[in-house]
Symmetry: C3
Subunit: 204 residues, 3 copies
């Protein structure tokens, strides 16, 4: 099931990357590049930090084919994209939680503890979006949008809690997906945000 | 022969990096840093994605010495740089194709397939320029200039085709270099560009 | 002793990262993320370039806990931060030299030569600050501030010289710290800067 969700997630993330590249007027190769970085960048950074080779998409090149196809599709369907904003929001939320669970579980499986697994969950969930924003020369959005990274972190806390309580693995994954998804949707609906830390030097 | 071309390529790329840092008014250490990232960043990212250690320049520190020298030379010769625009354009095209061939062949030699080898060819060819633009806080140029990344991709398709047809390796390399170089020069001369994907939100 | 200095250094660097994120109005999770990248990003990039796994903070998650705590503390103590500018400047200088020595020594211990060790010293010293500036969408400051990267480079030259002269390791470390610290303070006090390389295209 996580594999199916993973494919949905990288497709949705590739599309957000392609749209972001389109806002900067990149050519199709650039659009594909940004789309792929957005979709598989988080997992790649995680695996490079952990020294876990080969990377997922190097082992399964089909994932690169999927994200490339998603980017090309986005270019052709751009006129419909404006009406699909809510669909993206939903798919992106599914993607965020899916990436986080995969990132955390893979890190635990490699023998690391809960702190590193939490860090890797957040990195897997949000680093693709950070790369997208860096490549498009924007201040990363993920730390300003409605609780984006926080949803990943709290969902993983929820996931670990269920796991430590001895809940069945499948139930744990599904519960976390529902919990994180509902949490994110509530955050978006009510524009929940953490209070910003705004630091200004005093004028001299 | 690829080694000679590689040295020419990293020298030329280091110089474009140094000029870009100069446009941002960096100090000499910054200029050297950006120059080295531009010249050897693409290959480094490729090897880190593939988990192929040691990196080329860690094994052969002479390459770092060469790119550092190229950066210092650029600072001293800056007044002549304006008149060398066309020389750079030629050397940069040679570098792009050389990097792409080296990236693709190394990936194949590591046992990966053609999809991953194509991805790594493009990454080796263009990622140095992307790092340069990120470090200098510009939107990466490689996806906006005349067919830059596309030339790398199509040249590698050409290279694989000759290879699969059983053409002699040396002939394959030379043919790809000539093909890619001419293709790039035509693209620059006639300002060929892929149609940009410009995405704008509809105003509400 | 280097461990104590390392903890002081990552704490100070995390705080400069948190302040920088605050200037961009990020939320607390973003502030923590930027703080951690600033504090441990340089060492992580060094180890990823060298293929030296596990990364320091993956092996010792306590370092992540410390930098996270430093980031949270910065948010709560922001009103006092303005008055601590000079404290930061001192701690940051200690951090720069500490990071550089650790980076150089670790690289030598892995069997690499002096050129690569010098490169890794500078990367360990300055890359955290570069990541901070990229994530906050600024042109990296480290190449524009008073001799920042240059102090790292020259201090490491000093360190290698003492080492080659057969000076006792502890004396070498302490001497380098004093040398680099005084050098940096003089550079800051007298606003020493290398002449900038400012490159402008001639108007046509």
């Amino acid at each position: 099931m996580l594999t199916v969700l993973y494919v949905i997630a990288i497709t949705a993330e590739a599309m957000t990357g392609a749209l972001s590249a389109g806002r900067r007027g990149m050519d199709p190769v650039g659009v594909i590049f940004v789309a792929c970085c957005t979709a598989i960048g988080g997992g790649s950074v995680r695996d490079m930090l952990l020294g876990s080779y080969p990377l997922t998409w190097v082992e399964t090149p089909m994932y690169i084919v999927i994200t490339t196809a998603a980017a090309i599709l986005t270019i052709f369907l751009q006129r419909y994209m404006k009406h699909m904003f809510k669909v993206f929001l939903v798919l992106d939320a599914v993607g965020l939680i899916t990436f986080s669970i995969i990132g955390a579980q893979k890190t635990l499986d490699l023998g690391h503890g809960y702190i590193i697994a939490s860090v890797m969950a957040v990195i897997t969930g949000v680093f693709g979006g950070i790369l997208r924003d860096i490549l498009c020369n924007n201040v990363p959005l993920v730390f300003r949008k409605e609780l984006y990274a926080s949803v990943a972190l709290i969902s993983i806390g929820f996931y670990f809690t269920l796991q430590l309580l001895g809940v069945d693995p499948n139930v744990t994954v599904i519960s976390t997906l529902v919990f994180g998804f509902v949490f994110r949707m509530i955050a978006v609906r009510f524009k929940l945000e953490l209070p910003k830390f705004v630091y200004k030097e005093s004028p001299h």
